[in-house]
């Protein structure tokens, strides 16, 4: 039996006069990986950013409908946006570590919250780096600059940094599109390991990637959620013509 962790209800979003998302109803289940696929510009990133309110700072953004995290509407008035963002981690398309040490990158979120002791932070940094499969590679140089890491390591550092907040949900926006095949494979395996402890929503332009790691896949087209199914089902018997066309590479 699957249990919903984070989901939308009749979600619409506008940037100014342009409606980007149309009546989206998407659910991500606890301890499962949900992929969002679709051609470039169809609104995948925008949809993903609704789950941690990262569209809020964009001028002229308007949103109707609801986004629930464990049954609580995260857009309800008086919601603590910062707490939402701490419990819904996000990893971006291009690795974006801070130009700080490896240690301080992972400690950042905890230091911001200001309620952890130094030793708690130290333990949490180690735990998070281990969870992101980076510990062995960096344990001897925690105080070196994060910029000295390879692209794949930087991306795993960004995952570790998000995990340090102990999020319930991890949002990944095309996390491997800037990486080589080996680093990509490593991050895909990592996702499969992480889903035991965190719910994962991943945007990917790479259909095969969704096939390899996602339990559920959503196909987004022109801001509409065309189809949302178990991955095998969506890949083998797509219900919608547009899904079929996208999967067979007719567009996008």
């Amino acid at each position: 039996m699957v249990e919903r962790q984070i989901w939308t209800s009749n979600l619409n979003l506008w940037f100014g006069k342009n409606q980007i998302l149309h009546n989206i109803n998407l659910e991500a289940y606890k301890n499962h990986i949900t992929a969002i696929i679709g051609p470039s510009g169809c609104g995948k990133s925008t949809l993903l950013r609704c789950f941690n309110r990262m569209n809020d700072p964009i001028p002229f953004m308007e949103l109707t409908g609801k986004v629930y995290l464990d049954g609580k509407d995260i857009y309800a008035p008086k919601t603590d946006v910062y707490a939402v963002r701490a419990s819904v981690g996000m990893v971006f398309q291009k690795p974006n570590p801070f130009p700080k040490s490896i240690y301080n990158n992972v400690a950042y979120g905890l230091q911001i919250q200001g309620k952890y002791s130094k030793s708690e932070i130290k333990d949490r940094v180690e735990e998070s780096l281990k969870a992101a499969w980076l510990w062995d590679e960096v344990k001897d140089r925690l105080h070196h600059s994060a910029m000295s890491l390879s692209g794949g390591q930087q991306q795993r550092l960004c995952i570790a940094r998000a995990l340090a907040n102990k999020p319930k949900v991890l949002l990944l926006d095309e996390p491997t599109s800037a990486l080589d095949p080996q680093s990509t494979a490593k991050i895909e395996e990592l996702c499969l390991a992480l889903k035991n402890s965190v719910t994962i929503l991943i945007v990917t332009h790479n259909v095969a990637q969704a096939g390899r790691i996602a339990d559920y896949t959503a196909f987004l087209y022109l801001g509409e959620l065309v189809e949302f199914e178990k991955t095998e089902q969506l890949f083998t018997v797509p219900k919608d013509k547009r899904t079929e066309a996208y999967l067979t590479g007719v567009f996008g």
Binding site: Y82, R85, N96, F98, Y108, I112, S148, C158, R161, N165
Partner: protein, 289 residues
């Protein structure tokens, strides 16, 4: 044909850089050549650390301590005034202002940075000094405080525009990373953006320092010109630069007073050299293995 053009161009560039180097060396040589003879008369320690600048008495006194402290106090005062204002406005322009406001504010600040210092000096003498004399019921408005204030206002645009450049060239993705970890906007500014821009910010402060300590016209006009260690911020002071400018006309080439003014120039040169050295070290890219 192309080869010849290329060669000619390279030769011209080479000669130009050679000339620049020659000028620089000539200046440094000249200053040391005319400054060092002073130290046959007094030790460098007495020159730097005693307070008796009486260049035209007989026997003359060349203890420059008060002038050195004058430069130091005026510069320190200028930075104390300029730092909060310039860094505050850099933060505002780079991180808070709307794009439209930023478009206006940037060029205005750069324009302010280009105003000649004599204009600031005039403003100081004509408007600020009388006001300050009145407000604080002083004998004179030409003092340490007024000159720090004017110098501070003068270096604000320099520090502001360079540190604003440094902050706004921090990639947007760094701000997003911080916000996505649950940081507020101000936490993002102070814990992610400013640390990422710190080299440029430190550089801007050093540049402001160099500009303030080397500034001559403003202090000549508004510092009051007494060669004494000020006991309060409302007493006149006499920095090294204005001393050189004011007294050069009274000297006879080659006499001790003349040498002493060049010795002051050596001190200024060394201070500038070290502040540039620090800038250099700060900006040198860290080697990464």
């Amino acid at each position: 044909m192309k080869g010849i053009k290329e060669k000619t161009f390279q030769a011209i560039a080479y000669i130009a850089s050679l000339l620049t180097a020659v000028c620089l060396i000539a200046i440094i040589y000249g200053i040391f050549h005319d400054g060092l003879p002073l130290f046959k008369f007094i030790s460098w320690k007495d020159f730097l650390f005693t307070n008796n600048w009486y260049p035209v008495y007989s026997p003359p006194g060349f203890g420059a301590w008060a002038l050195i402290m004058g430069s130091f106090y005026v510069t320190l005062g200028a930075l104390i005034i300029a730092l909060p204002l310039s860094l505050g406005s850099a933060i505002f322009i780079s991180e808070i202002a709307s794009p439209g406001l930023r478009e206006i504010a940037k060029p205005v600040i750069e324009l302010l940075a280009g105003i000649p210092s004599v204009v600031y000096g005039l403003f100081g003498i004509a408007f600020l000094a009388p006001l300050i004399r009145q407000w604080f019921s002083l004998d004179t408005g030409l003092n340490l405080f007024t000159s720090s204030l004017i110098l501070g206002i003068m270096v604000i645009p320099i520090i502001c525009s360079i540190s604003e450049d440094a902050m706004s060239s921090v990639p947007h993705s760094i701000r997003e990373a911080s916000l996505a970890l649950g940081a507020t906007k101000s936490e993002t500014i102070f814990k992610a953006v400013i640390p990422a821009a710190k080299k440029g910010i430190i550089g801007s402060i050093l540049l402001g320092f160099g500009r303030a300590i080397g500034e001559t016209m403003v202090v000549l006009m508004v510092a009051g010109g007494a060669a004494q260690i000020p006991k309060s911020i409302f007493e006149p002071v006499r920095p090294m630069t204005s001393t050189i400018a004011a007294e050069m006309g009274e000297t006879i080439m080659g006499d001790l007073h003349y040498n002493a003014l060049f010795a002051l120039a050596i001190v200024l040169l060394i201070i500038t050299f070290f502040s540039n050295l620090i800038t250099e070290i700060v900006f040198r890219p860290k080697r990464q293995k």
